[in-house]
């Protein structure tokens, strides 16, 4: 069953087009991602799906309903973790969940029980009665995610769930989101991070400048838009450009970044041998597997995180 259906979806702000005619279908039980750089239109899309931002054009149906007409009914079945936490810092961790549950018409007793379960789920039980203000960024993020689950939603919208968190906090969030997915909850998330998308998403779209530039599973996208391996070369010179000509033909494709050159090749070791045969002596050599970052670079000519 298609839970989210968009065709030619457009969002314009005073003449500026943030989302420029995108087509999206998200099926039940899927983990679907929007990957893209700053300003790609990810949040604008999420807010339209979350029924707080009316589309400027195109078709949008959520849970087979019309966001403009059935906003509250749809929102009752969504969980939203916005890009910026909007928790009540003065309330306790538990009160943030119980008061929010009441907005969904959940009885007080059920709300208290569910708050305890969710605090356990996001590992905040020990902080249940402390105020939110002094919590770390990772804890606040987990609380926001718990709050998004308080109504047992069918779809959870997560706008950059781990941006700004340290690696340990990120892994904890990923692990919890993975569990949700296993429980059959449909996840829709946005991210700057290709490793996040690769970890969590069954399917994703790459967005740039309000448009979708590619779509597929992380694996399929890498197969389609990149090579199996990548050789990263760093030369001790002001500009890497001068080496671009000398490397011509080593791989299928070559990208020159300000601080390094990327060679797209089927076999990394062969390529490194060829570089040595040409008597080029890079300061550092790194062979790695292709990632979504490379897909993005290929599609847009830009890196994802600047």
């Amino acid at each position: 069953m298609t839970l989210i259906h968009a065709r030619g979806l457009v969002k314009r702000f005073e003449g500026f087009t943030a989302v420029d005619g995108i087509d999206v279908d998200v099926e039940r039980g899927e983990a679907f991602g929007f990957l893209g750089p700053n300003g790609a239109g990810k949040s604008s899309t999420m807010r339209m799906i979350g029924c707080v931002s009316p589309p400027t054009g195109g078709v949008l149906r959520i849970l087979d309903m019309d966001p403009l007409r059935d906003g509250p009914k749809i929102r009752a079945r969504l969980g939203v973790c916005p890009q910026l936490d909007n928790l009540d810092l003065e309330l306790t961790v538990r009160e943030n969940l119980t008061t929010y549950a009441r907005f969904f018409g959940i009885p007080r007793k059920v709300a208290r029980r569910r708050a305890d379960e969710l605090l356990d789920f996001v590992q905040l039980t020990e902080r249940a009665d402390s105020k939110v203000e002094p919590l770390s960024g990772g804890m606040k993020r987990r609380l926001t995610i718990a709050r998004a689950l308080v109504n047992e939603p069918e779809i959870v919208l997560l706008d950059e769930p781990t941006t700004g968190l340290d690696p340990q906090a990120r892994h904890l969030v990923w692990e919890r989101l993975f569990r949700l997915k296993q429980q059959g909850v449909t996840l829709v998330l946005t991210t700057h991070y290709m490793d996040e998308a690769e970890q969590l998403c069954d399917r994703l779209v790459v967005m740039d400048g309000g448009k979708i530039v590619a779509e597929g599973s992380p694996r399929a996208l890498i197969d389609e838009y990149s090579t199996r391996e990548v050789v990263e070369l760093r030369f001790n010179v002001e500009s890497q450009d001068v080496f671009a000509d000398k490397l011509a033909g080593v791989g299928e494709r070559l990208e020159v970044l300000p601080d390094r050159i990327l060679l797209y090749v089927a076999d990394g070791d062969d390529a490194v041998a060829e570089v040595q045969r040409r008597a080029l002596s890079p300061a550092s050599v790194l062979v790695r597997r292709s990632s979504l970052e490379d897909v993005f670079l290929h599609l847009t000519g830009r890196t994802l995180v600047d």
């Binding site: 979350g50 707080v52 931002s53 009316p54 509250p72 929102r75 928790l87 008061t99 009441r102 907005f103």
Partner: protein
Amino acid sequence: MTWSVLEYHLVSYRRIWRSSVLSSFVLPLLTMLGFGVGVGAYVTGGVQGVPYLDWMVPGLIASTAMQVAIGDSSWPVFGGFEWQKIYFGQAAAPLRVADILDGHLLFVVFRTLTSCAAFLLIATAFGTMHSAWALATLPIAALVGLSVATPTFAYAAAVRSDSYLAILFRLGVIPMSLFSGVFFPVESLPAVFRWIAYALPLWHGVDLSRAATLGAAPSWSAAGHVVYLALWAGVGWLLALRRFRKRLVV
């Protein structure tokens, strides 16, 4: 759904209610002592046939309603959009914009009522109430509160810097408390100022309150006062709803 929003604000208030209740008793107590004993001693003839304190207290109750209502609708509303952004969290839940607005307004009415009830209690203890109609000061206070809270909600949702809220207090709240017949009859004001007092909501609440506690007829039609205050509340509500929509549905 509106009730769940009120409930949220009450839970939030629970942390500070002790100090808040204390301060709502302190102001009336100081007033009774300062004005009743101090200023009252100079106004020996009383005003309109009653002791000065008895004449002034109902006005102060209405004025307290106005100040509490505006205080609780200015920074908290601004902060709901600009600081903690709690309104945006509420908008993602199955609430309508009107629920978010009404729930918060109900809380402001609750705060107005409890503050004025404390005042009424103390004023009664000091023997300044002349009639059982004095109880009517409470619904009047709620109406005064709404008449100023709704436009303040609209204003606080419209401005993008909290320095505009300070302007509201300097140019709106303070002059209104001084020139709305709380401390002296508006008849002693020059005509221009008198008409400004008539146009603003507070004087209508003051005149009604005074009529209630003194058990006398108001200087203007009581129904007229009520309709005029309701008009402020109603127009303010429409403006506030429009402003809230503009911020929450983009």
